[in-house]
């Protein structure tokens, strides 16, 4: 492993007039990482990507690539995009409509004044990589969305950049194609080993593809971690809520003491807590994922309000008093609306958040 991070961002800021797009951001990305910048629209993820690429000039901070300073506001250093040895796939693909597929892909090589034979060889090799042999004479608008996407990728990889930047590359594709392309992109990353920064607002994409997820909102990073970490140990309420499908259940609850043991009583569920879990706080927010409920004989009674089957699993909405919760059951689970379910929370599979700060306690 290199002694320095592949991409290091220090105190990065970007303002558009009074609007703050990125607020004092720090992020370190290691060689070979597949990092996803995840967040709702307007959270600053695309701006971050464009700042790394050099297409956007931040208003403060520093960016290092391969340990080399490529941007510094203090020192007024801005290395132009072409000299950063990175490739970018735009959300719109930005394929030149007046050039054929061949000309699109060969553009950068012609600028480098490579010999014609070599350009041809390289373009055809790359076309093979993206499974589009025989399409070199077409124009982009004659291709399907998925094919255009691959041309954009081909145009990026032919220059052999050591950093791939991908800006919501799958958002314009239909649902089925999106699933296929996910696998292909992951494969591409594994084959090339290039450090990849991937921007998306789709949490499933982020979970399935990345080695690291960076969750942003309003220009601030809320959490950086592996998919498993952000799923099981969300840093705060925002992350817990954002990384949840179906929606995570939140209850406000107070800590009480029963038989000398501290317990949380939330929406009828009693949750045992160890001393390591919780400080002296009294009020917390409890979060339980829909799949973390089990049906037990001594569980709390809930009435089924609605069921949304999805083939391999089934979402059940159940209510008790004014409280409504979503449950996720694997397999072909069937239950009648109006019937009662006795539920408890799986041992230890819940999160606790400080009610005031929203930060995770357990």
């Amino acid at each position: 492993m290199a002694e320095y991070a592949k991409i290091r961002i220090e105190n990065l800021c970007k303002k558009w007039g009074k609007v703050v797009a990125i607020k004092d951001m720090n992020l370190s990305i290691e060689e070979g990482d597949f990092v996803t910048l995840l967040g709702p629209s307007g959270c600053g993820k695309t701006t971050t990507l464009r700042a790394i690429a050099g297409l956007e000039e931040p208003t403060g901070g520093k960016i290092y690539l391969n340990g080399k300073l490529v941007f510094s506001k203090e020192e007024e250093i801005v290395v132009p995009p072409a000299k950063r040895n990175l490739g970018l796939v735009f959300q719109s693909y930005a394929l030149w409509p007046h050039m054929t597929v061949f000309e699109n892909i060969a553009f950068g090589l012609k600028i480098k004044k490579l010999p014609k034979d070599e350009i041809r060889k390289m373009v055809f090799a790359v076309l093979g990589d993206v499974k589009l042999e025989g399409y070199e004479k077409r124009y982009p608008q004659e291709l399907s969305g998925g094919q255009q996407q691959r041309i954009a990728i081909a145009r990026m990889i032919i220059n052999r950049p050591d950093i791939y930047l991908l800006d919501e590359p799958l958002s314009n594709l239909d649902a089925k194609l999106r699933v296929d392309m996910r696998a292909e992109l992951k494969e591409l990353h594994q084959k090339s080993g290039a450090t990849t920064v991937y921007v998306t607002h789709d949490q499933v994409e982020a979970m399935t593809m990345s080695s690291k997820i960076c969750i942003m909102k309003d220009g601030i990073i809320h959490q950086v971690g592996s998919p498993e970490e952000v799923y099981r140990k969300p840093a705060d309420l925002f992350v817990a809520d954002f990384i949840s499908n179906p929606k995570m259940n939140f209850f406000e609850a107070a800590v009480t003491t029963e038989n000398n043991k501290r317990v949380i009583n939330a929406a009828g569920f009693k949750l045992k807590i160890g001393p390591e879990m919780l400080g002296p706080e009294e009020k917390v927010k409890v979060a339980v994922r829909p799949e973390d409920f089990v049906i037990t004989d001594n569980g709390t009674e809930y009435t089924v309000v609605n069921q949304l089957p999805a083939g391999s699993s089934s979402i059940v909405i159940a209510g008790r008093g004014g409280e409504k919760i979503s449950l996720l059951f694997e397999g072909n689970f069937k239950v009648a609306v109006g019937s009662k379910l006795r539920l408890s929370v799986k041992e230890g599979l819940f999160n606790l958040f400080n009610l005031k700060t929203g930060k995770r306690i357990y």
């Binding site: 007024e76 995009p81 072409a82 930005a94 007046h98 950068g108 600028i111």
Partner: protein, 619 residues
Amino acid sequence: MSEAAVKKRPGILFLRRLLRNLKLPQKIMGIILFVLLVLFVLLPAINLFYTAFSFSYSDRVLPQVIERGIKAVPGRFTLVHLERVFFSPLTKNMFLIPLLNTLLITAGLTIVALSFGSVLAWIVVRTDLPGRKLIANLATIPYIIPAWPIALAWLNIFKNTKVGGTPGLFEYIFHMTPPDWMSYGPVPIIICLSLHYYSYSFITVSGALATIDSRLEETGELLGANKWQVMRKITLPLVLPSILSAFILTFSRGIGSFGTPAFLGMPVHFFTLSTQLYSNIKNNLGGDAYIIALVMILMSGLSIYMNVKVIGARKSFVTISGKGFKAKPVLLGKLKYVVLVLLIIFIILGVFTPLYVLTWQSLMEQDGNYSLSNFTLHFWTGKSDEVNKHGILIGEGQAGILRNPMILRGAWNSVRLALYAAFFTSFLGIIIGYAIVRDRGSRLSKLNDALSFAPYIFPGIAFGAVYLTMFARPFGPIPALYGTFAILVLVSVAKHVPYSSRTGTAAMMQVSKELEEAGELQGAGFLRRFFKIIFPLTRNGLVAGFMLSFITVMRELSLVVLLVTPSTKVLTTMIYYYAEIGFHQFGDAITMLVVIISLSGTIIIRRFQKTALGKEIGG
């Protein structure tokens, strides 16, 4: 290691930043553009103010100067011109009457042109009238040709012998002298201008009507409204912004119109502000003329301000959501044949007759004799020594326009002027588009945007006057340009900056920033990005813009009429000259030449950009 970089002094950092910014192509272009706009738009406008409020050499002979014993030192500040125009015995004839005449004509023109154009638009877009497409195409012809040939044709038909000269077609056929109000003055001026300017309302409103999502109207019908209610409550409010914008456009063009009131008003001393301005300059009363120019600019500026105020706010709610379903046409029933016949009569009389009459007159050996025996091709192709059957030289010994060296020189001047102007205008259009679109939001970009719109508020004759004051003398490194061909090119380019800025920005908007950035990432420098990516993608728009400027400059009269000298005459000013001296056949032949060039140019444009016509007057 770079962490520990030595603290740089602020001066060096500032320089680095400056250099980096200066390397950005949009900044370079923005700065060049700004300098050009200051030089050729802002300074001339300031100079107009200065000239209007200072003595000129010829002011020594003004009675106000002589009576009061003032020393009229050229260049010294004075309010004498202001006084003469607004507060002197001359005020009534020099300012009030022309002002009222201008308002009368503009009001009449706006009412007639707007109502006719809008109704025609509705009929063509929304009813089941047979042959709607053909009528729509024919109805746009007046937009393509200039306004003043219609006035020439009107003279041809309705002129009476009272003012002198030969009788018109009307008198020839009916053996009846048309009354004065029918030959000259406000009525014919309003009719002739309306016959041209209705096409603006027609194109704007029919464009809006055609793009209304018909589902909006169908929803109204489903909720129980009848056709009339739907039209009043849904359709009309939706097209109101475009009707308003056509209103303002017609109004501001009316204020500035020159050719038509000159041909139909000046012979009977019916003056508007524009013709008064012209005659003041011709009478060496420059200062007075520039005060009038300021008034015209103010009026025009006010109408545009209203435009922004009224429509700017309203436009936001226009939900032209593109293609809905094709609206069911309103069934006219038996009425449709009546409407059809009326429209055919209109097209024949209003659109074709002027062209036909001008052609006919250009083929008459003796003006006013409409018999076939009077037919001659002399004014087109005749040699200078051609004689008629009585042995008299035809055309007073002047050769036909196609072999007359003076007219051919004028034609060459016109074509040259239009080509130069169109070339520079399109070139400027790219610079403006790039500088404004790619640097959006910066102060420089906003400033350039505003400055490049400024010439729009100058009526053509006033803009010509501005250039006359500015470049009559040497100015900085620029030598005195009056009498040169260059000043015609300059004034034409500067006046069309608002249009080129619109074509340029529209073309640049179509090329998304990402397409250029993708090139930047691949290592392409600015010039390569420009020629390999931006230019190929904007080419069609630029070619259409080029042709549009070409035609507009080709038929421009009021802008250049003050600036031409005998050696730089262009076709339009020659027509004006021949009309003034009453040598109509030559003027008509040249007019038809201009019309033919304009029409063929438009056909070329339409091949490049089907929507060019709508776009140019749309916003």
